[in-house]
Symmetry: none
Subunit: 526 residues, 2 copies
């Protein structure tokens, strides 16, 4: 880890897992911990041992299987029960049994929660903090204390909230973390309160921000401005309700904007890769519009700026995308001209600057298709196929389609069925294949894969993952032109193709055929 003067503390595995719909296996948690360690965070909160079998198992397996290079594993748990002793509390014992060298204890600091949720007294709550911290310290653990609902509590009764901070620090907690558990704070107030608590207690302070106001990153940075030296975040901002402060946005801002080293040298450049890899493990599509690490984070659309961007990209981006492992992308749209097509081609590995005539042909073709409703900005793969076709029009295509037909019907009281027949050639062989599906495009997809499967077994790894249809401008009703965007993926990544036609099935077919052709191109078989 980096030195102890500043803590980048990750709680994806504990608080992040509270996100609606997320359900991590122990293997998922181990994989995420490795990724977080590879990003260089100082602490990884693994879960609450003793609260459920999965978290207990995680710590047991982590001892054997997890070799952390940068991070210290941290166990989360609560202060002992009211009226008991920490030494006799089985939940506290589970924290020690976990073997984690660091423990984060959650404590109440809002007197209303002490009385309504814990149903105990102000003094007993303080005693629970002192007793539990001291017990864990005596057993050789490093202890951080999370003051739950701190900011709401401080507004209600600042004296008591500060007393909890003092009790924790005096009992031996290294850091007392002020939690905006309900997520309602705004940065100016966070900054003021952190400053006051620091002055009143002298404790080392941390910040834990939820994103309910959309200000979790800003609140975290405001706390650091006011003297906090420990920040709790989650990968991609996963967390309960709206989520938590996003680890990647906080780390990037601290390193690139505050000039503060919070990760080992060079590891901020792993941000984009780690963000996407964790999203894959959690099984949530990576948020395309996430700050710093989203695929759209450095994507420029306006044709207006394209020529100026070529002159000096730094005038149009807040940081160098390479600093977080991301890339500038130029989106080709009807607003764009030659400069953006040229940049896009360069991104795809083709230098068109030498051949103005070729560039002109491609731009004309793009504009013509865009005018008919193709949306290349959303369909990179279709654009690449178009550019490749213009670059090498004579290249043999992997298959040629003769015809397709779909029949769909529905009868009162029986299931609907769709059936598709595709006729095509691979080299000189003619193939006729029929597929059934629960809809016409599904049936066509099945038929096409059946037809091509024996020639191109690698298509088995290609999966359709998104399908969008819309009606285009200037037309009306079901007789209007439709645009289909179809996204496919293989183990390496995903790509989107576009089809446009008055017939939604024909438009789908165009996108489907391109999607398969592009999938073959990726495996070197196109």
């Amino acid at each position: 880890m980096t030195d102890d003067s500043f803590h980048l503390f990750d709680t994806t595995l504990r608080d992040g897992a509270q996100r609606e719909g997320v359900n991590l296996t122990v293997a998922d948690k181990l994989a995420i911990a490795k990724l977080l360690d590879g990003f260089g965070v100082g602490f990884i909160e693994g879960g609450w041992p003793g609260s459920n079998p999965k978290d207990t198992e995680f710590f047991a397996r982590a001892r054997d299987e997890l070799r952390l290079e940068h991070a210290l594993l941290t166990a989360f748990g609560s202060t002992r029960r009211a009226g008991g002793r920490a030494a006799d509390d089985p939940m506290v014992a589970a924290l020690l049994d976990s073997g984690a060298p660091v423990v984060t204890l959650v404590a109440k600091s809002d007197v209303r929660h002490v009385e309504l949720a814990l149903r105990t007294t102000r003094e007993e709550n303080l005693e629970m903090v002192r007793d539990t911290v001291a017990h864990l310290r005596a057993a050789g653990r490093r202890v951080f204390v999370d003051c739950e609902h701190f900011f709401d509590g401080y507004r209600h009764d600042p004296g008591y909230a500060a007393e909890v901070v003092r009790a924790a620090a005096e009992a031996g907690a290294d850091v007392v973390v002020l939690c905006d558990t309900n997520g309602g704070m705004l940065p100016a107030d966070v900054s003021a309160i952190v400053g006051e608590v620091r002055a009143a207690t002298g404790a080392r302070l941390g910040m834990h921000a939820q994103d309910d106001s959309g200000c979790a990153v800003a609140n975290t940075l405001a706390a650091v401005d006011a003297g906090a030296t420990h920040v709790q975040c989650t990968a991609n901002g996963y967390g309960e309700r709206v989520g938590n402060a996003n680890l990647f946005a906080v780390a990037a801002a601290l390193e690139l904007k505050h000039g503060r080293r919070v990760l080992p040298e060079g590891l901020l450049r792993e941000a984009t890769r780690v963000s996407h890899a964790i999203a894959e493990v959690v099984n949530i599509a990576p948020a395309t519009h996430q700050p710093y690490v989203g695929v759209s984070a450095f994507a420029h659309k306006a044709g207006l700026h394209a020529s100026a961007i070529k002159v000096d990209p730094d005038l149009y981006q807040h940081i160098d995308p390479a600093a977080v492992g991301n890339d500038m992308r130029m989106l080709v749209s009807d607003m764009a001209g030659r400069a953006s097509v040229e940049l896009k081609a360069r991104e795809l590995g083709f230098d068109l600057s030498a051949d103005r005539a070729l560039l002109g042909r491609i731009v004309d073709r793009v504009k013509e298709l865009e005018a008919r409703g193709h949306s290349f900005e959303a369909a990179d793969a279709s654009l690449e196929l178009l550019i490749r076709a213009e670059l090498d029009g004579s290249a043999e295509r992997p298959f040629e389609v003769e015809s397709w037909r779909v029949i769909a019907e529905s009868r009162q009281g029986t299931a609907q069925v769709a059936e598709a027949t595709v006729k095509l050639y691979v080299k000189d062989e003619r193939i006729v294949a029929t597929g059934e599906g629960n809809g016409p495009v599904h049936a066509l997809d099945k038929a096409l894969r059946l037809a091509l499967g024996s020639f191109f077994p690698e298509l088995g790894r290609v999966e359709l993952i998104d399908y969008k249809v819309r009606l285009l401008e200037g037309t009306s009703g079901t007789g209007a032109v439709t645009r289909v965007l179809l996204t496919s993926s293989d183990s390496q990544g995903e790509w989107t193709t576009v089809g446009v036609d008055e017939n939604v099935i024909e438009a789908s077919w165009q996108a489907l055929e391109q999607s398969v052709a592009y999938g073959l191109l990726r495996t070197g078989r196109g």
Copy 2:
């Protein structure tokens, strides 16, 4: 609109449309403008007339079709060209021709952009601002000036950036808007710079924040703290790259946390509905984890604090979710669902408050269908048909469908064709009709109209005007569940119906059948 002392300015239709993958039709833009007006924003920036035919058409149609209750329509454009005169500039003339009472002019305020992108001098840029503002003011327009790249420019050369602000204000701009165009600012710096510029220029200032640091909402609020009285936002934070400051998060924070009235009384409660409806028009799934208005924004994982939440929910949420039209989701949320169904029924002329059992049945049915992917928020007509069916299940339906079948095919070198056959009963008469169309849904529509035409000639006035298909969350590929939203119109207005099925044609058929049934209802024949 609310009084002029504070401006909530929306630029979804201009800057929001820069979001990757978004491509709005003129009809989309008109629909979004109506929704934004219903939310009560003061200004709606509609686009850049003269820069592309679509935006020009939007302003032309808006003059005839858009009746705004709260907002003023605003046209966006740039200062005149270097070396010319505003009075001779065709782009400036297009702003006047748009008929919009307010114009937002974008001006360069970073001297590097003046020299590298505009390729002109510091003095000529100031002259372009003065000349264009004065010209538009003389023509009776209200003018706001967006200082593009202001913060980067201010850091590079504060004197020049402030000079641009002064030039705009002195020439007659009501508000000079400081734009964090690259989105890299953090709140503490925004606050300091806005304060300095205000002191140095005395101009009325606005804020336009991009979200590249994940701080757009916080930056907007920081600018207001420092004296800005005009904020530019987009619905759901749509915008280029990472996006813009989210209108709903900014409005909610200003009203509920700053205690500042920025919307007409009572309209903040429309936030959730408007957010989701705009997402449907844009055809992007509403962001589940969006602050305030996301479906997860007040979703508590059941169990953990359940009993305490029941005692006092306010201890576990930063605001009352009803204030933004949202719901806490851990508790059985019957009440909210009931309230909106009850309200809708009252709108239709039925008082359900006396019959709790009937109301309960309707709410259950709505929930069941919503869980399967129906989106009644965007499909009022389907909801009305559902309520009417429950209210009077015995009422005779105008027609009963026995079956439908579609055949679509495509053969190399010939036109594709789609043919549909519909079999149905009107009273006791069985009708079989076949229609051809350029797509399966078009063919079904033709067949259905042919079958019904002689009984219901008034269907001739009903026209399908929009058709949207979306794959639903949590499913995959072409075998996944699709939702179709279909909008029809007659001379009196328009209505939207929804269909959901694995088969896109079946889903389309459901929406089509309802659309026709609702059309007949409107003429009193349903």
